[in-house]
């Protein structure tokens, strides 16, 4: 347990520093010190800082997934080799070969695990920071007892205390807390569901859709809202705001990715190619594939001597015009 607290200490320190920083700035800009809105905006700021810090990771992943387009023929060859073989050993061998092919090509379309797992301790750290603040306990760093007391007393629009949970709302019969919690949970479920649905239906290749993982994902799509409801029941509203803003951030980011840099071979990628082709057509440019073909034929022609064209006599030309 002590080791755990030690590991969480730096994470909590940074979270507190960012929260207090935003709180100071917003107060300086005219926000009321004890207002719930000021604290909610500070939490929004926290999400923006944390998620923006992770943009380089996302971009790096997208760049390398674009690069993996180049070895798509090799991947398709492997997929063809194992087509229709659904037993565990064939699937394993296929995955091994695929991963090895990516490594050899020096590219990898997968996001990697670290960025995802890093978000878990951050969320946990925030829950701990806010829980301590609710109990008017000073944090590990910049969140003083004074600020903690301010947070625990703050209410949103003067009626919804941020430290309250949905459970607490029902226990005390506080209608505003219940309504806020339900609205937050509904938006959270909707954004999560939509993001997941977008990824699954648009940004996965047919090969991914064949994997057993995909079926599990489909089932979970409908179980996630239940999970969210349970967590919403237990976590303070302040924490739910973090989750909500984070979900919206993910949703927007995902939409941009699906539109601009889809997974090669997925429906979204095909849709993007079609979009690009239409755009080229509108601009009066030849299609991309045609371009290459034209270049090839040009090379072939150059091997032959250019035949001089007969101009005909001057009178003939003029007569035609």
């Amino acid at each position: 347990m002590d080791i755990f607290a030690l590991l969480m200490w730096p994470i909590k320190w940074v979270i507190e520093a960012i929260l207090v920083g935003f709180h100071t700035v917003i107060t300086a800009l005219g926000g009321a010190e004890g207002s719930g809105l000021t604290w909610v905006l500070s939490i929004v700021g926290l999400v923006l800082v944390i998620r923006s810090a992770m943009i380089p990771l996302t971009v790096r992943q997208i760049v390398s997934s674009r690069k993996s387009l180049e070895i798509q023929p090799e991947i398709q060859r492997i997929q063809k080799k194992y087509k229709g073989k659904k037993d565990q050993f064939s699937r394993e061998a296929m995955q091994r070969e695929t991963m090895e092919a990516y490594r050899k090509a020096g590219t990898n379309p997968f996001a990697s695990c670290l960025p995802l797992l890093i978000q878990m301790p951050i969320f946990l750290g925030l829950v701990q920071v806010l829980t301590d603040a609710n109990n008017r306990k000073a944090g590990v760093g910049l969140l003083t007892e004074e600020l903690a007391t301010l947070f625990s007393q703050s209410t949103l629009f003067g009626v919804v205390p941020l430290h309250q949970t949905m459970q607490g709302g029902f226990a005390s019969g506080d209608v505003w807390v219940i309504i806020t919690a339900i609205v937050l949970t509904a938006i959270m479920c909707a954004t999560q569901f939509y993001t997941q649905l977008q990824i699954m239906t648009k940004n996965q290749t047919p090969a991914m859709k064949e994997s057993p993982m995909y079926k599990q994902q489909r089932i979970l799509l409908y179980i996630i809202p239940v999970f969210l409801l349970v967590s919403a029941w237990l976590f303070p509203l302040g924490t739910m705001f973090y989750w909500l803003v984070s979900n919206i951030y993910t949703l927007v980011q995902q939409l941009i990715i699906i539109n601009k840099m889809p997974t090669p071979g997925s429906d979204a990628a095909l849709a993007r190619e079609a979009r690009m082709a239409r755009k080229r057509q509108r601009m009066g440019l030849p299609p991309v594939e045609g371009d290459e073909a034209a270049a090839e034929t040009e090379v072939e022609i150059k091997t032959q001597r250019q035949q001089p064209k007969g101009k005909g006599t001057k009178s003939k030309r003029e007569g035609r015009a």
Binding site: L57, R60, Q61, S64, Q95, R96, T98, M99, E100, Y102, R103, K104, G106, N108, F110, A111, S112, C113, L114, P115, L116, L117, Q196, I199, M200, Q204, M208, S211, M213, Q216, Q217, L220, I224
Partner: protein, 95 residues
């Protein structure tokens, strides 16, 4: 099941639950084969809790966007233990 294997089987239970419930939310993200959670699971099955968690943690640290990825199996144990379909280690017997 021998008592000495209880700690690793508790960890196995956690990882199996994680792989069934939380892991699919992310879809395929791992840059390696086997995936990080599968690697950690195998490492704990074959090498025990302490060495297994150590190996698994190091693997997760290796799985960042700048890593080349590829096939990365657990270090071969001195003797491979037999596991059940669910992933539990029942006895100190070899494959």
């Amino acid at each position: 099941m021998s008592l000495a294997l209880l700690p690793r089987n508790i960890c196995v239970a956690f990882l199996v639950a994680y792989r069934a419930v939380i892991s699919p939310l992310y879809g395929d993200v791992c840059r390696y084969y086997p995936s990080c959670s599968s690697y950690a699971l195998q490492a704990i099955q074959q090498h025990g809790v302490i060495r297994g968690i150590w190996m698994g943690s190091r693997r997760i640290l290796r799985c960042h966007p700048w890593a080349p990825g590829g096939v990365d199996d657990i270090p071969e144990p001195r003797r491979r233990l037999h596991t059940t379909r669910a992933g539990f280690v029942l006895a100190h017997e070899e494959h």
